[in-house]
C-alpha cells in the first residue's frame, strides 16, 4: 500500500435551490495514493463533478459542503484552509482538467498565456520564462508546432488540441494530484484514445496521482488502478480495476458494463440498457437509489440503504443481494471465463 495523498471522508455536498436542497454528494469516501490513478465512474448527474470541485475548493454559492466532511491532502484538512492557502494549493499541488475544454479556456486570451498564467501566479517563473515553459508544455502534450500555437486563441484549436492545452495548463506546476473531469467525453474515439495515452504517459513521467472522472467504463479499463462506481451521490462499488471488471458485484456496475457497445453484437440486436433515470437528488430515496431501475430490486432495497459488503482486497459493494438473506443471483453476463456468480 502506497502513501495516501488524498483522503476524502464522508463528503457531503448540497445545493440550495428554489425547490429545496439538492443533495449532490451524499457521503462519499475514498483515498488516492501517490502516483496512482483512481477512476470515478458514474452516469450524468451522479455527483462526480461536484466531488471533483470539492477537492479543488470550487463549490460556490448555492452549494455547501456539509459539516463533518473531510478532505485530507497530505494529511491536512483542506476544507479548513484560508484563502491564501487555497490559492497556493490550487494549480500548484492539485490541478484540474475540465470537462468542456472549449468553454474552460478564456476565448480572449492566447493559449500560451493561459498556460503561463499558472506558472506566473505561483511565482514559478518570470514572464519570459513562463512563456518559454508554456511552449515546452504544449510540445510535451504533443501539439505540433507549439511556438506558433502558443500565440493562437482557443477558437483556432481543434477539440483535441484544446483538451491538450487544458492538460498542459494543469501540468504547468507539476502538481501532485491531477483531477481530470471527463477529459474525453466531448471527443471522438480516436482523440479519446490519444488523450488517455497521453495521460498514461505523463503519469509515468511525472508520477502524479490522477483522479479520472468519466461515465464510460471502457475508457478507464486501460488506465485506472482503482475504480469507484458512483450512483446518485454515493459510491456503490469500489475496487481494483481487475476486480471491478472481472468480478463486479453491484447490479449497477453490471448494467454499466453491459451498456458499453461491443462490436461483436449482432446488427440491430437490442442493446442492453438501464431503463429509467436516476432518482432526483432533491429527495433521495431512503433505500438503495438504484432500486427503481434495478432488475433485482427487493422490497428491502426500497426501505433501507444497503450496507457496504467487503469482498477483500478493497473491493466493496453496497447491495442487498450480498445479504445472506437474499437469493443468489448470477452476474447476467460473463466478462471472462473465470468470472462468475456471487
Amino acid at each position: 500500500m502506497g502513501e495516501k495523498l488524498l483522503q476524502v471522508q464522508d463528503l457531503r455536498v448540497s445545493y440550495h435551490t428554489y425547490a429545496g436542497e439538492v443533495q449532490s454528494v451524499r457521503g462519499v469516501s475514498f483515498a488516492v495514493e501517490k502516483g496512482e490513478t483512481l477512476a470515478i465512474v458514474g452516469e450524468s448527474g451522479c455527483g462526480k463533478s461536484v466531488t471533483a470541485k470539492s477537492i479543488m475548493g470550487l463549490i460556490q454559492d448555492p452549494g455547501e459542503i456539509k459539516p463533518g466532511s473531510r478532505i485530507l491532502y497530505e494529511g491536512r484538512d483542506i476544507l479548513k484552509m484560508k484563502k491564501r492557502e487555497w490559492r497556493a494549493y490550487r494549480g500548484e499541488q492539485c490541478a484540474m482538467i475540465f470537462q468542456d475544454a472549449l468553454t474552460s479556456l478564456d476565448p480572449t486570451m492566447r493559449v500560451g498565456k493561459q498556460i503561463a498564467e499558472t506558472l506566473r501566479v505561483h511565482g514559478r517563473a518570470g514572464k519570459a520564462e513562463a512563456a518559454e515553459k508554456a511552449v515546452e508544455l504544449l510540445r510535451r502534450v504533443g501539439i505540433p508546432n507549439p511556438e506558433r500555437r502558443a500565440q493562437e486563441f482557443p477558437h483556432q484549436f481543434s477539440g483535441g488540441m484544446r483538451q491538450r492545452a487544458m492538460i498542459a495548463t494543469a501540468l504547468a506546476c507539476d502538481p501532485k494530484l491531477l483531477i481530470a473531469d471527463e477529459p474525453t467525453t466531448a471527443l471522438d474515439v480516436t482523440i479519446q484514445a490519444q488523450i488517455i495515452d497521453l495521460m498514461k504517459q505523463l503519469q509515468r513521467e511525472l508520477g502524479a496521482a490522477i483522479v479520472l472522472i468519466t461515465h464510460d467504463l471502457g475508457v478507464v479499463a486501460g488506465i485506472a488502478k482503482h475504480i469507484c462506481v458512483m450512483y446518485s451521490g454515493k459510491i456503490v462499488e469500489r475496487g481494483t480495476s481487475a476486480e471491478l471488471f472481472y468480478h463486479p458485484r453491484h447490479p449497477y456496475t453490471w448494467a454499466l458494463l453491459k451498456a458499453v457497445p461491443r462490436l461483436d453484437l449482432k446488427n440491430k440486436q437490442e442493446l442492453a440498457t438501464i431503463e429509467g433515470t436516476p432518482p432526483d437528488l432533491l429527495s433521495p430515496p431512503a433505500g438503495c437509489p438504484f432500486c427503481t431501475r434495478c432488475r433485482y430490486c427487493m422490497p428491502v432495497c426500497k426501505e433501507e440503504m444497503p450496507p457496504d459488503t467487503d469482498f477483500g482486497g478493497g473491493h466493496q459493494a453496497a447491495c442487498w443481494l450480498h445479504d445472506p438473506r437474499a437469493p443468489k443471483v448470477d452476474a447476467p453476463f460473463v466478462v471472462r471465463k473465470e468470472a462468475g456468480g456471487i
Binding site: V189, D197, A221, P261, K268, Q269, T273, V335
Partner: protein, 320 residues
Amino acid sequence: MKEKEPLLEVRHLKKYFPAAGGATVKAVDDVSFTIYKGETLGMVGESGCGKTTCGRTAMGVYPKSGGEALFDGRDVHKLRGADKLAFSRRAQIIFQDPYASLNPRMTVADIIAEGIDIHGLAQNHAQRTERVYELLNMVGLNKEHANRFAHEFSGGQRQRIGIARAFAVNPDFIMCDEPISALDVSIQAQIVNLLVKLQREMGLTYLFIAHDLAMVKHISDRIAVMYLGTLVELTESERLYDKPLHPYTQALLSAIPIPDPEIELTRERIRLEGDIPSPVDPPPGCRFAGRCSRTCARCRRETPALREVEPGHFVACHLV
C-alpha cells in the same frame, strides 16, 4: 432480395465555408452516396470531418457549393414554396446536442407539436394534444411530461423529445446527427433501441451520424467513413467490421474502448499521430496521408478516388 429503391442520392456534393483571410473551409468536398428506402446508412468520422455539414447540406439546410442531392429524384436545393414544405414533412433531423436543440422557453408539448402546427396536421386542439401524447408514449415518456420545459429533463429524455419532434410529421427519412454522442453510455443504448424499434415499426430510412463505430455498427446496414470532408470507405456494416480496408477505418476500429483491462492494456492500437488537419485549403493528395502509417509518394500526390474494390465495398485508398 427485392430491388433496392434509392431515396436520397448525393452526387459530388460540395460545401465550402468562407474562412478568415479569404480562405475557404472545404467542409464537404465531393461526396457521393446513395441511401435506399428502408435502410440505415451510418456515417462515422472524427469530430470536424464534415459529417454534420454533409448531412445538412444533403437535406438542404445549408446551401450547397456544388454537386446535387436528390430526394426521391428531386433536387432538394431547388425546392420552393409548397414543395419545400412537403419535403420538410418527409425528411427530418434529430440533432446532435439535446441541450441546444430544444428551445428552453417552450413546453415539451409545444416543441413536439411544432411540426403538427406548421403542417396543419391536427384539426383541433384536442387532436393535437392526443397526437402529442401518442408521440410521448412512443418515445417512452408519459403524458404528464407534456407541460414541462426541456431543462427539467435529463439528456436522454431530451434526446427522446427531439426524436418525438422529428416523428411528429410522420417523415419517411430521418437524419440522426450524432443523437447519442452527448449522452451517457447507459442512455445511448436506450436511444439506439428506440430508433431501431421505430424503424422496424414504420419502415423508416435513416442517415445515422456518429463518431463511435461500435454504436453505429448496431444500427446501420451500411456504413460510410468520412475523413476531412471526403468519403474514404463505404460498405455493409458487418463487412466493415470484419474487413476494414482503409487505414483510417482500421485506426478507428482499434480505438474503440473495451471494458476489459487486460485487453485494453495489451491490445495493439493503431496510433494516429497528430490531429485531424485543418480543412482550410487542404493539401493535394490523400487527405489522410499525413497521419497514415503506410503513406507512399503517390498518396501525397494524387487524391484517391472512391473505388468499388469488392461488390458493394467502396474504398478511397491507393494501397488497396
